[in-house]
């Protein structure tokens, strides 16, 4: 009888679910805003007092985000350029538009695909690592201990990561851009039998220096987003054993979602304002 009493009718159950969902959403949004405020405060403090930035940690995360990610970034961007070049070459050859392959691959890789690929790799490699690291600290109550001692945990745990990501992601994007163009060049030379000099001159005539600037700005923004979401999900980790895994998963999913949204906005921004 007690079990039957606990059963809810359909409309009541539905509204409770919807209400719970919106309550959770509100909680998450509020926590995100609060976290953003704390991070902004810590970043401003770091700009005001650069000496207070923990350089050892900064270098460590720069190494983690940047140098360690070069091989996988190069490989994935090279293959992306290769695949894009191959698919386009097959279609463009039918219409005699072979000469445009270099421009297409160059522009697509530098302006869109390379920043996006670098960000997705960084989400999987770094964002999830940040969420797991901070989540583990949250589970072992290290974060609470810092707060209890009067420290601002964001200053120690987020600022070095944020700076490292903002600095290293553009460098990775440059390597990704070049790798993508090389991937397309391999197809241009082997499949379309274009001379390397012709492919190079076509790429140079189509890809503008501003596109590299666009790529750099985009990846810096994406890096900040990935770091912010990874750290935020880490700080939102619960206290149970499965919480770290959930935080890691949600950080990856949310990072990719927000990177795509940011890319949409930035693409519109760059196309209408700069180019």
């Amino acid at each position: 009888m007690a079990g039957e009493d606990q059963k809810k009718s359909f409309p009541e159950d539905f509204f409770i679910s919807v209400g719970g969902m919106f309550y959770t959403l509100k909680e998450e949004i509020f926590s995100c805003i609060v976290f953003a405020g704390r991070v902004s405060s810590a970043v401003l403090d770091a700009f005001r007092h650069p000496g207070k930035i923990r350089k050892r940690e900064l270098l460590y995360f720069m190494n983690l985000c940047g140098a360690d990610g070069v091989p996988i970034t190069f490989l994935i961007c090279f293959l992306t350029g290769f695949i894009l070049g191959y698919q386009c070459a097959v279609q463009m050859q039918k219409y005699g538009a072979d000469a445009f392959l270099a421009g297409l691959v160059g522009c697509a890789m530098v302006r869109e695909l390379s920043p996006l690929m670098v960000s997705i790799i960084a989400t999987g490699r770094t964002g999830s690592a940040f969420a797991a690291e901070i989540g583990s600290m949250k589970v072992s109550e290290e974060v609470d201990a810092l707060r209890t001692m009067g420290f601002m945990p964001e200053r120690f745990l987020v600022v070095p990561k944020l700076f490292a990501m903002a600095l290293m992601m553009p460098l990775l994007a440059i390597i990704g851009d070049i790798a993508g163009i090389l991937g397309g060049a391999v197809i241009g030379i082997t499949v379309l039998h274009q001379p390397l000099s012709a492919y190079y001159s076509q790429t140079v005539s189509w890809v503008r220096p501003g596109y590299f600037l666009e790529s750099i700005i985009k990846t810096a923004v994406f890096g900040i987003i990935i770091c912010f979401i990874g750290c935020w999900r880490g700080f939102r980790t619960g206290s149970d054993a499965l919480a770290v895994g959930r935080s890691t998963t949600s950080s990856v999913v949310l990072s990719i979602l927000f990177v795509i949204i940011a890319d949409t906005i930035l693409a519109h921004f760059f196309n209408n304002i700069f180019f």
């Binding site: 140098a67 538009a97 445009f100 440059i174 590299f212």
Partner: protein, 334 residues
């Protein structure tokens, strides 16, 4: 938390070098090169031509479109372009030097070439619908009519754009085709099809009036009669040919032919019997004799003429000297 600083340093250095190399290759420092600024005016649509579209001189990319301005007063579109002078070798350049042409030198050269027929024209760039501006010598094309002379700073300038050099343009191939088609269509439109149709109707009506159905029927009837008559005549002839008279006639003709053959035989026999060679030889002798006689007669007539002349002279002398009848000719006169 140990950091591999060598790896980090290598990564940062390589990435920065790559960035610098890439933007340099892509033309970040192109603004340092010497530039010339040209402007042209077109009357046609510039669909497919954008800011940044290429400008080519006989197929060689030399610059890009920097601005496209609609000039409402003249209803023309002004195209402003930037030409990289690095593409042009100086006249005084040696093989090993790399100096570009100066802007003034370029403008002078351009002015001379424009007088020789250098024009710019919008050309399609492949199948994508994009276009570029081609500068070349186009034969058999008339330039877009403009008041400005080549090289003069034209009226579609605004405030501080005196740096532009005007180069005339010609309609693109499609525009020329369209103009030709428009001319043809205008000429076709000038044909008075309504009038032609009206006159044709009038003509048909007149023909209908002239060729009335009753008259046509009568004509057909007469034709039928005529045909019937011819047929009867033909039948009659056939009947005649079948009768005996024609056989008799043919027999008479045969007899006549036989008589002619006999007559011919007789004539040949008479000819053979006659001494025609002897007669001909006699005639030949006679002709020779007549010829000799003729010569003798001519000689005689000549001598007679001489005698007449001498007598005339004697008579004249006697008339002048009657005493000569007694004394004869004097010694001196002899």
């Amino acid at each position: 938390m140990e950091t591999n600083k060598f790896k980090l340093g290598l990564f940062v250095t390589c990435a920065v070098l790559l960035f610098v190399a890439a933007v340099t290759c892509m033309g970040l420092f192109d603004f340092l090169n010497a530039k010339a600024y040209l402007r042209t005016t077109v009357t046609e649509s510039v669909q497919g031509l954008n800011t940044g579209s290429q400008v080519k001189l006989r197929g060689v990319p030399i610059g890009k479109i920097t601005d496209i301005i609609i000039h409402m007063e003249s209803k023309n579109i002004c195209l402003e372009m930037e030409v990289d002078l690095q593409r042009f070798a100086s006249r005084s350049q040696s093989i090993f030097s790399n100096s570009a042409i100066s802007k003034e030198e370029f403008y002078q050269l351009l002015h001379k070439e424009i007088k020789s027929g250098l024009r710019c024209r919008i050309e399609p760039d492949g199948i994508t619908g994009m276009k570029y501006l081609e500068i070349d010598f186009f034969n058999n094309v008339k330039p877009v009519s403009r008041k400005e002379s080549p090289g003069k700073i034209n009226s579609c300038t605004t405030a501080n754009n005196s740096k532009y050099f005007f180069i005339p343009s010609t309609p693109s191939m499609l525009a020329s085709l369209r103009l030709t088609m428009t001319d043809i269509l205008a000429k076709i439109a000038m044909i008075d099809f309504d009038g032609i149709a009206r006159r044709s109707n009038l003509l048909l009506e007149n023909v209908n009036k002239i060729v009335q159905p009753q008259k046509v029927d009568k004509l057909i009837t007469q034709l039928d009669k005529c045909v019937e008559s011819i047929r009867k005549t033909s039948d009659t002839l056939t009947d005649v040919l079948d009768k005996k008279e024609i056989n008799d006639t043919l027999a008479d003709i045969k007899k006549a032919v036989n008589s002619i053959a006999v007559l011919s035989t007789d004539i040949r026999k008479n000819i053979n019997d006659s001494n025609i060679p002897g007669t001909v030889a006699g005639l030949r002798d006679l002709t020779d004799e007549i010829e000799d006689s003729s010569k003798n007669v001519n000689n005689t007539i000549g001598k007679l003429n001489d005698a007449i002349d001498a007598l005339t002279e004697l008579a004249q002398y006697l008339n002048d000297h009657p005493s000569a009848l007694i004394y004869g000719k004097t010694r001196d006169e002899k």
